[in-house]
């Protein structure tokens, strides 16, 4: 009588891999999330203390051996940036979930702890599509430019005293040069996509860059004047007694605003503005190329708060409990302080992201040119004056 049988398995049954949120195991969840942080910390220690110690023991710390050592460190840092991206995406989704009266990822791993690993695998497995209208070479190059520019910032960021790849005495200038480059990747990617939305996004990115870069550079200058050096290590050292945030409060506020703009973070996320430009400059990207834009974004989401900590919150400084400065234990502890301070700032950025809507792009430009630049100049003069009479 019935030509079509009533389907038996109409009812959903949880799959094996699915983690039943009803049977929550808080210790396991904490374990997974701490594992990320622990791996992060371990890679930091390995990069800055382990590898040099190894090469010293092998006697290869000169000539080509030194080059090899640096190369190994860079590979480890690439690993670190992958861990940062995995962790930050997870934390972003969990935190946004928490403040938005939902849970965020729940099913893969305890409390969604390995969700981002699967997401990354999915992105890798997807087709890397190039639209017919795109300029292929530029289109392919753009994510690399963005990622390399963000990644290159790692070179001068000190995780603890002496734990830095290149403590050059032009660290700040290098930072300005490199951080500007990442906007070029966005610009190239948007223009070469052959999509009008991407083009608008790219042009917005360009307009945004010329507005925030100048106050940002002026704040860098202020910090340099106050510390008397362009090297990031010295800047941190100079804050031993007093964190810069107090004397340079004005510059600090400007720096936070400018780095929000540099991150293309709400309230200044004009180049991608999902609800206006759909996804802006990366609308045509998929698969691996998109993953690199994403990776770059989250590496910057770690590095810019890290720079706030370096410039204004005493970098790695914190009580050492009698550990001998320069030893491995002291370095590990210092890098922990640095990480915790950075984590607080990352959290504040995420918090802003959860709260605020988006400004209009010309409002940022107006604000940057008419308010931030004069204020940054004023801050610079103030810092120079204070430094003259105080130190």
């Amino acid at each position: 009588m019935n030509p079509i049988p009533i389907p038996e398995d109409r009812h959903f049954r949880p799959r094996l891999l699915g983690y039943d949120p009803q049977k929550s195991r808080p210790w396991l969840e904490r374990l997974v999330y701490s594992a990320y942080v622990f791996v992060f910390w371990l890679i930091v220690i390995g990069t800055y203390a382990g590898v040099p110690a190894l090469f010293e023991a092998l006697g290869w710390n000169a000539g080509w051996g030194f080059v090899l050592m640096r190369a190994l460190q860079v590979v480890l840092l690439f690993l670190l940036s992958a861990v940062i991206a995995l962790l930050l995406i997870l934390v972003l989704r969990k935190y946004l979930g928490k403040v938005q009266e939902r849970y965020g990822p729940m099913h893969y791993g305890p409390a969604g702890g390995i969700q981002t690993v699967f997401d990354a695998l999915k992105l890798l497995a997807k087709e890397d599509f190039v639209p017919a209208a795109a300029d292929v070479l530029t289109f392919r190059l753009a994510p690399a430019v963005t990622f390399v520019a963000s990644f290159a910032m790692f070179a001068v960021v000190p995780f603890a005293s002496g734990w830095v790849l290149a403590d050059t005495n032009v660290g700040l200038i290098y930072l300005i040069a490199v951080s500007t480059l990442s906007a070029y990747g966005v610009l190239l990617g948007g223009v070469s996509s052959g999509n009008k939305w991407a083009l608008i996004g790219a042009l917005r990115a360009g307009a945004q860059m010329v507005s925030y870069e100048i106050p940002l550079a002026l704040v860098f200058l202020t910090v340099a004047v106050w510390a008397g050096s362009l090297s990031l290590g010295r800047i941190v050292d100079a804050q031993l007694g007093l964190w810069n945030v107090l004397p340079l409060a004005l510059s600090f506020v400007l720096y936070v605003i400018a780095s929000l703009a540099e991150l293309k973070h709400i309230p200044f996320d004009f180049p991608e503005a999902e609800s206006e430009l759909i996804a802006g400059y990366n609308v045509e990207y998929s698969g691996m190329s998109f993953a690199f834009f994403f990776l770059a974004e989250f590496v910057e989401l770690f590095l810019l708060p890290a720079l706030i900590v370096v410039f204004f919150f005493g970098g790695w400084h914190g009580p050492l409990f009698g550990l001998e400065p320069g030893s491995l234990a002291a370095g590990a502890l210092e890098s922990l302080y640095f990480t915790v301070k950075t984590a607080v700032w990352v959290w504040i950025f995420l918090w802003i992201r959860a709260t605020l809507p988006r400004y209009r792009d010309d409002q940022l430009m107006e604000f940057a040119w008419k308010a931030m630049i004069p204020l940054a100049l004023f801050g610079l003069v103030l810092a120079a004056y204070l430094r003259l009479i105080w130190r």
């Binding site: 009588m1 019935n2 079509i4 049988p5 009533i6 389907p7 109409r10 009812h11 959903f12 049954r13 949880p14 039943d20 949120p21 009803q22 979930g97 928490k98 403040v99 938005q100 009266e101 939902r102 849970y103 918090w351 802003i352 959860a354 709260t355 605020l356």
Partner: protein, 189 residues
């Protein structure tokens, strides 16, 4: 001075906004863990349709075609013939196209004997829409699986463990305050 005040106002407003958002961290999310925990739907909830049989397995439907006439989407198709022995009609065909049905429950309202009823089984997702073109077996099966159903004439009915059909007690009836208060008044008088 007013500029400074404006800036202060803006900073304060952003701060209040951020505090408002952050408040949620300390509250539990109201999310339902759906596939693990089935939601508790009110008995009147129209999720699907079913055709109830009597306890002895005979047809409740008297094939009066009221539901077919009432249906706004015109998805009910009934064919009948006269019962050779005895009164009334017998069903030849009773199809409801649950794909195009708009779950307005007009058919349930029209039915004089509460044969066609609404049930709370909402898990109808399928890979093949053809499986939702319900014929009479499908509708009977839906009713047999259901533990309770609703129709405006009889209110909520329950299927007990041993297969009997009972009218639900008044506190389970959603028929409105009037119906709820009636037994209480009777007790008083």
């Amino acid at each position: 001075m007013s500029l400074l005040q404006e800036v202060w106002q803006a900073v304060k407003a952003i701060g209040t906004g951020m505090a408002t958002v952050h408040k949620r961290v300390y509250e539990d999310a109201p999310t339902e863990f759906y596939p693990y925990v089935k939601p508790d739907l009110p008995p009147v909830s129209v999720q699907s349709l079913a055709l109830v049989e009597n306890e002895d397995g005979s047809e409740r439907c008297i094939v009066c075609l009221q539901c077919e006439r009432a249906c706004p989407a015109q998805v009910i198709t009934i064919e009948r013939h006269r019962n050779p022995e005895g009164k009334g009609f017998l069903i030849d065909r009773f199809d409801i196209d649950l794909v195009n049905c708009m779950y307005c429950a007009a058919c349930v309202e029209a039915c004089p004997v509460s044969s066609i009823v609404t049930i709370q089984d909402f898990e109808m997702s399928t890979y093949d829409l053809q499986t939702l073109k319900a014929d009479i077996d499908f509708l009977h099966e839906q009713a047999r699986r259901a533990r309770q159903w609703y129709s405006p004439k009889f209110g909520v009915e329950l299927r007990t463990e041993d297969g009997r059909i009972e009218k639900a007690p008044p506190e389970m009836q959603p028929g409105g305050l009037a119906e709820l208060l009636k037994p209480a008044e009777e007790v008083d008088s």
